[in-house]
C-alpha cells in the first residue's frame, strides 16, 4: 500500500543536520504555537499539533531518525513514495492468522498518527514481533489444529495518540478501521467512537470488544486493543500520573530564593523557590498531576535547572569576579 511520505524536517522547520537540541527547541516553539489550548482555530491547530508530535517522535529518537534518514534518502519533494525493496513495515497493513487461513489488510483512521508513521514507525509491539515470527516459517505448518471450528478471531493492536489535555479531562475519539479481504477485494469500514477515560496513562491499553479479526467457523470476532501514546507536551513530561515541569532559574534566583508562577493543566500556581536551591532539585506541588481514580490526582514536580548568562556586561563581570574573591563556597570536595 503506497503511503504519502512525511517530510519531518520540513514540519519542524529544521535542516537535515539539525542537532538534538535544535530539534527539541523547534518542537517546543511550534508546540506552544499550535497547542490546542492556545490556538484560535482549535481544529486546525490540533491537526498541526499532532503532525509536529509525530515528527518529534521520530526525529528525537536517534534510532528512529537514522531509519527515517535511510528511508528518505531516495525521496524527492513532491514525488510519490514507494518504500525501497526489502523494507519491512513496522505496523501491519496486512494481517494473517496463525494458521494462514485468514488474511486481511487493515488501516486505521483517527488515531492521530499518519499512515506513513504507522507503516514504518509503529512501536514494534508484540503483534509486530509475532508477525515476523510467522513470516519466518510456513504459515500453518505446525498449528493445523488452530483452524478448529468456532475459533475466535485474532486481536488487533493499534497505537492511539492522546494529548495530555485529553488524558486530563477524558475525551471521545472517532476512529475508523478499514479491513480489506484480499481474496474477495471487499472492503469494510467500521466507524466507532471510543471514550478515553480521564487519567489514562502512557502504554495503557483500551479494549474495544469485537473490532478485531473475524472469527473462524462461527467463532466470535477478536478485540481491538488501542495502546495509548501520550503526545509530547511543550511544558510537561509524564511518569505515571505525575507531571514534571522543567524550570529554568538564574543563579541568583537559586541562591537567594524567589517565587515563580508556573502553568499546570488547570490554571497557574505560584511556587516558592527556597534559598540555596541547587540544580536538579525537585519541588513537589501536591495533587496537580493527572487523575488517578477515586478522586485522587498525581503530583506536579518542578525540576530546577540553573541557566547562566553567556554574555556579560563589564559591570556584571566585575560583580562575578568580586563574588569569586569573597565567596567561601566550595562545590567539590577538597
Amino acid at each position: 500500500m503506497p503511503v504519502e511520505f512525511k517530510d519531518y524536517y520540513a514540519i519542524l522547520g529544521v535542516p537535515r543536520d539539525a542537532t538534538e537540541e535544535d530539534i527539541k527547541k523547534a518542537f517546543r516553539k511550534l508546540a506552544r504555537q499550535y497547542h490546542p489550548d492556545v490556538a484560535r482555530d482549535k481544529k486546525a491547530a490540533e491537526e498541526k499539533f499532532k503532525e509536529i508530535n509525530e515528527a518529534y517522535e521520530v526525529l528525537s529518537d536517534p534510532a528512529k531518525r537514522q531509519k527515517y534518514d535511510t528511508l528518505g534518502a531516495q525521496w524527492q519533494a513532491g514525488a510519490g513514495f514507494e518504500p525501497p525493496p526489502g523494507w519491512q513495515s513496522a505496523r501491519g497493513a496486512r494481517w494473517a492468522s496463525p494458521d494462514g487461513t485468514q488474511t486481511f489488510e487493515f488501516h486505521f483512521g483517527g488515531t492521530g498518527f499518519s499512515d506513513f508513521f504507522e507503516q514504518f514507525f509503529g512501536r514494534g509491539g508484540l503483534e509486530d514481533l509475532l508477525r515476523q515470527a510467522r513470516a519466518g516459517r510456513g504459515a500453518g505448518e505446525d498449528f493445523a489444529d488452530t483452524a478448529a471450528a468456532g475459533r475466535r478471531g485474532q486481536d488487533i493492536e493499534g497505537d492511539l495518540l492522546v494529548t495530555l489535555e485529553e488524558a486530563f479531562h477524558g475525551a471521545v475519539r472517532s476512529l475508523s478501521l478499514q479491513k480489506t479481504d484480499p481474496r474477495t477485494g471487499r472492503t469494510e469500514t467500521h466507524t466507532f467512537k471510543v471514550r478515553i477515560p480521564a487519567g489514562v496513562q502512557d502504554g495503557q491499553t483500551i479494549r474495544v470488544p469485537g473490532q478485531g479479526g473475524a472469527g473462524l467457523g462461527g467463532g466470535p470476532p477478536g478485540d481491538l486493543y488501542l495502546r495509548v501514546r501520550l503526545a509530547a507536551h511543550p511544558w510537561f513530561r509524564t511518569r505515571g500520573s505525575d507531571l514534571y515541569y522543567d524550570l529554568d532559574l538564574a543563579p541568583w534566583e537559586a541562591v537567594l530564593g524567589t517565587a515563580v508562577e508556573i502553568p499546570t493543566l488547570d490554571g497557574k500556581v505560584t511556587v516558592r523557590i527556597p534559598h540555596g536551591t541547587s540544580g536538579g532539585r525537585q519541588l513537589r506541588v501536591q495533587g496537580r498531576g493527572l487523575p488517578r481514580g477515586a478522586g485522587e490526582r498525581g503530583d506536579l514536580y518542578v525540576v530546577v535547572n540553573i541557566e547562566v548568562p553567556d554574555h556579560l556586561s563589564a559591570e556584571e563581570r566585575h560583580l562575578w569576579e568580586q563574588l569569586r574573591r569573597v565567596s567561601r563556597f566550595q562545590p567539590r570536595p577538597t
Binding site: 475466535r152 486481536d155 480489506t180 474477495t184 466507532f192 491499553t205 466470535p220 511518569r239
Partner: protein, 109 residues
C-alpha cells in the same frame, strides 16, 4: 478481477472502557476461548494474576489480565514455546516497555 466492493457499516457506537470491570473465571473462559485448566495453569506459573485471590471470594480478572491471557495464547500458538519460555518472553516484553517509557521521559527533558 471484479471491482472491489466497499461496504461501510453504519451506526457509530461509543465504547466506554470500564477500567474497574471484573470478569469471573467463567467469563474469561468465554471471552478468551481458552480452556479453564490452561488459565489456571498460567495463574499457577505467575504469568497472569487474578485481581482478587481465590480465597477472597472467587477468581476475578481485569482487562489487563484478559489482555495478558490473549497475548500468552498468541505467543504460544505462533512460537510454540513452553511455559518457562513464555515467562521469559513476557518478562522481557514488560521490561522493554518499562525501559522505553523511561527513555522517553528522559529524552524529552
Amino acid at each position: 478481477m471484479n471491482a472491489p466492493q466497499t461496504r461501510t457499516l453504519p451506526a457509530p457506537e461509543v465504547y466506554e472502557p470500564a477500567p474497574a470491570a471484573r470478569y469471573t473465571l467463567e467469563e474469561v473462559v468465554r471471552l478468551t476461548h481458552l480452556p479453564r485448566r490452561q488459565i489456571l495453569r498460567y495463574c499457577q506459573c505467575g504469568l497472569v494474576a487474578p485481581v482478587t485471590a481465590p480465597e477472597a471470594g472467587g477468581w476475578a480478572f481485569n482487562d489487563e489480565g484478559l489482555r495478558r491471557l490473549r497475548r500468552l495464547d498468541a505467543l504460544r500458538q505462533t512460537c510454540g514455546v513452553n511455559l518457562p519460555a513464555l515467562r521469559l518472553i513476557m518478562e522481557l516484553l514488560d521490561e522493554v516497555e518499562r525501559l522505553r517509557r523511561e527513555l522517553r521521559f528522559w529524552r524529552t527533558r
